[in-house]
Assembly symmetry: C2
Homo-oligomer: 307 residues x 2
């Protein structure tokens, strides 16, 4: 096996004030880039482009670097780090955003270091689609672009998002977002409509119910892993994306990705996300090993093995 390909991850780094059924956890380090980078670093080397404020702990950046993540693209700006506060329901299925302070993230314009521009895999976290496009504009010719987005951009920036989607290979969104993006309720028809906008592979996240993959290989359904203890769902989607792209980075990128490769990547994403939610914040993904990912991959595969 050859060494895994490097992955460029662009997204947010943040402080989250979490109100969970198990307690209140203020100032928890979060953000899409943080979760994705920790998650994928179990499988492949990541390079992060993000912005933090002067209040962000250097030790956290150090713990990313200690896992082989290239943190030289993390800009430290004058001001405070992006902050989000949320309260989860008792059953952890729903959550309410209590507060969002963009802080230094408000003026974030991703600058891709020269050494990062030839990175073959790119993970575009959920930021303004114009910024996602700016990232791609700075890259040489990535072999695979994975992107996340959300309702806020789907309704607020439809044209910018539509232009971006033509440049995306794998789009990862949830049920509601695929319905809003397509204007179609039926999930199968909605998926076909979204794929017609550009992404060859569409992944629909369904929380505890797992995820669906739509591509030329048909439909693939990976179940959620039924855990005995779910502690904190924050970052599950970003960890899913990190595990997914981390697995893809271990595969050859010289030919178009096979549907079966994406199917295996889906299981790796699910395995990674299932670890993430077992502890508060990034504490679990920050120490996740490839053996632990592969162990959970086997448990998930057993969920749909007949014999």
């Amino acid at each position: 096996m050859t060494s895994p390909n490097p992955i460029l991850i662009v997204g947010s780094m943040a402080f989250d004030d979490l109100e969970l059924p198990s307690g209140v956890f203020p100032n928890t380090v979060g953000g899409s880039a943080t979760y994705s980078a920790f998650a994928c670093s179990a499988l492949a080397p990541a390079r992060v482009v993000a912005v933090v404020g002067t209040d962000f702990p250097e030790a956290l950046v150090g713990s990313l670097a200690a896992r082989g993540v290239d943190t030289t693209g993390i800009e430290r700006a004058a001001g405070k780090t992006f902050r989000w506060a949320g309260r989860y329901d008792a059953d952890l299925c729903g959550r309410t955003s209590l507060d969002t302070q963009l802080n230094v993230f408000a003026d974030f314009r991703p600058k891709i270091p020269a050494a990062f521009r030839s990175t073959p895999l790119v993970m575009l976290g959920n930021i303004h689609p114009a910024l996602q496009a700016e990232v791609l504009d700075q890259m040489d010719a990535p072999k695979l672009v994975v992107a996340d987005t959300m309702n806020f951009w789907i309704s607020g920036e439809p044209k910018t998002l539509a232009a971006l989607l033509k440049r995306v290979d794998v789009l990862i969104i949830n049920d509601e977002e695929v319905r809003e993006l397509s204007g179609v309720h039926n999930i199968r028809k909605a998926a076909a409509a979204v794929r017609a906008l550009g992404p060859k592979h569409l992944i629909i996240k369904r929380g505890e119910h797992g995820a669906l993959l739509f591509n030329d290989g048909g439909i693939f359904a990976v179940p959620g892993f039924p855990l005995e203890n779910v502690v904190d769902p924050t970052g599950a989607g970003d960890s899913f994306a990190g595990g997914l792209i981390g697995y893809l980075a271990t595969q050859s990128l010289d030919a178009p990705l096979q549907p079966s490769t994406l199917r295996r990547a889906m299981i790796h994403g699910t395995a990674t996300a299932s670890h993430c939610v077992e502890a508060v914040g990034t504490s679990r993904v920050a120490t996740l090993t490839s053996d632990e990912v592969e162990g959970r991959v086997r448990e998930i595969s057993a969920l749909f093995a007949i014999d």
Copy 2:
């Protein structure tokens, strides 16, 4: 392959007044026994014990009989047939019960004809657990008992239901019911608690998200089949049960059921239910063939095949 074993089905036969996004369908023939019998008759011979009123169409009974269903246990009582009225949400995910008239079903006491008492498989539809027990009391020694129940009996008849569960091999309920029955929210812990009450095999229905099976073989997750057109979810659970027990009836019952046999049965149940919801009422299951079930089984199996 030997001939399939016969299946005794006890449950309701009814008229449903359905308000669907596609239109209003009054006087639609329904009921748990009707759906399960039509569904399982694609795979194995069913024997029905139920009660209808003088208003129930003889032609419908004839169409069951034409599919090899033994209808001699369907009692015709003076009065009106059980009637339910419901309105579905625009997305077909939720529904509101508008009216329930028990009518002749209020005094239903299942009488198992002598010729039915040695039937090896028994499907106990969702009726009072005391009546479900009366059915088993009248049977010689069924090799497999499958049962459904609901929140109404879980909260209202906990002791009677607990006694019944000790006699049930396969219990089929939904997420909310397994949580209420166990008093535990986490689905994995709740499943273990319910299995400790008696059922060796617990199936948790999750609507469009598929179903989970918990038994000594571990956990099996079958995805819902993403349909292009869902018309009427009424009877999906009863059709699932019919397809499941219909498949089990084709297997040897001389040894304890293998976990893998239950896994295949889950896929057959899902296949059958996915056909059911493609048309109003029982119209689709009433003509369902084993080839159509097996075709959908292959489509569902492809949803979780890696290569």
